[in-house]
Amino acid sequence: MIGVLASGRDYCQEVYRAWNGFWFTPKDPATLSLLRLLAGAMLFYTHLVWSLDLSAFLGPHGWLPVEYLRSEVQVQGAQGMQVPIWSVWSIFFWIQSTWLLWCVHLFALTIFFCLMIGLFSRTTAVLGYLLAVSYAQRVSPGAFFGLDKVNVMLAMYLMLGPCGARYSLDRLVRLRRSQQAPLGGKGPIESTPKKQTSPAASTSANIAIRLIQIHLCVIYLFAGMAKLEGANWQAGTAVWWAVANLEYQSLNMTWLARWPMLVALATHLTVFWEASYCFLVWNRYTRPLVLWMAMFVHTGIALAMGLMTFGLAMIIANLSFLSPATVRRWVDPLAARFSLLLVGKQVG
């Protein structure tokens, strides 16, 4: 009996240690900073595109008037007693004039741009998330799709950690200030040259990355499970029906009609990959396979089906599984060139 209790206690201690290690071990913010750069660029571009017909999609009276959405679509309650869902919110629900709409839009684009280049990163990450939700809620339903979900997901987790610790203007500003600070005075806390060029490991950076990773696992798990219900996914023909869709097509893949076995292989592989992603991505031996498959699938969707932005957003999210050391090995040399140009010093 005592042995059972002791092993139970050991198990709990192991779980406690594993939980702490998984969530609260400080990590180099390199991966989070890279995601900020890429997701910020994606947020900026995808919201810039709204400018082409801003009033029609986001104005009070466009394709789907706000009043219609709030009184007939985004409602809850019994028939005849339906009221707008208070927790579905958007700044665009309250904007009535075109000039104010454009002011908010330009403000949002500025925020997304600052997030991309890493200027006032902690502030712009929070504002960027709130604005991304505002845009997405205004067009849901209507013109939203998977891109908006991934955009908001990335923006949500970026604001949790020091996303501007690397590859940002914030970092260059800090370096410049540290160079100008008098020696021995009330200067930077990190005074040695080595520390100046190396942001501190951060627990919140680790939490943000872990949340992106787990959220991505949930996305793939339910995408895979939904496909398992489809007769064409079961029959191994779904990839054909996807590439035979003219409205999606950006690359003619109808030559696949001659290769039914290849179509079947691609279909079944897609389902198994999506359904098993959440299990295989945590193992160091299967992780590269799963991530390369993600690159292959999303690049294929982007090139062949015209979903370039969605494919890129998913690839960006998958980069959350890269270790900070790998990110630094790839990105630091590039970042060093920029910093040399801007502050006369090579840093990552």
Binding site: W63, Y68, K149, T203, A244, N245, E247, Q249
Partner: protein, 273 residues
Amino acid sequence: MSARAKPQPAAQSSAARSSSVRTSSSRTSSSQVAKPARPAGHELPWRPAVRGLVSLLLAYHLLAVFVAPWNLSTRAALPPGYTPGTDPSGRQLPPPGPEDPSWQQPRLIRALADFCWNYQNLAYLNHGYEFFAPDPSGTHLIRFWVTRPDGKVIAGHFPDLKEQWPRLFYHRHMMLAEQTAGMGENSGIHYAEHLARVHGGRAHLEWVVHLLLSPEQVLSGKKLDDPDTYQVLATVDADAPPTPLPPVGAETQEQLPPAAAATYPSGASGGGR
């Protein structure tokens, strides 16, 4: 084993060193030796109370993330072996309506969804991830004609690659046509009113489904944009009540011969949604 055995001499030497330097604090040094190894995590920067609070918040957030697609992907079910009975002439009745008590609701999932509902909405988490699922289907388009007061007619359709660029802008228009099915007939009226307002006239809309071709049809030379592949599902006028929009998949299937209905997947599950 060796990893566990090694720290002991180190601890002893540390204690010996400590006692040699601080001879008056023998109790302290002995307690350092006897103290069991603290669990990993004591060097973590956040205090246990903070970690506990953050852990609770993380658990709730991840529950919300998980429950949203789970709730949307589950449906009520009839008991095994349930048969809906027959009418007086012996024909089988359709399945009971959604209010019928025979339906078994996924109670746990619905309860969890209620628990997370407002948080999911606030954070924009309340959606599923059905990318091209359960089956890829034909796309929907909207054709329009706006008759201006001077008699000039402006015709077009969306999505339209020639008019809408870049691709993301085109895709937004594709979603407009695609998602009107889930919003009921009134969405079509609003599209027509918008077009009438923009072009200054009276708008007439056709909601169209573009059916997909099988590999055999493509190999036989049929084009993906063959006129046969477009079917009008409903029409809408800006200042007239619309013809009712039929349910998406059912309408398409009914209009096709049985063999064709089996060939063409239908439904409104757009890619990337």
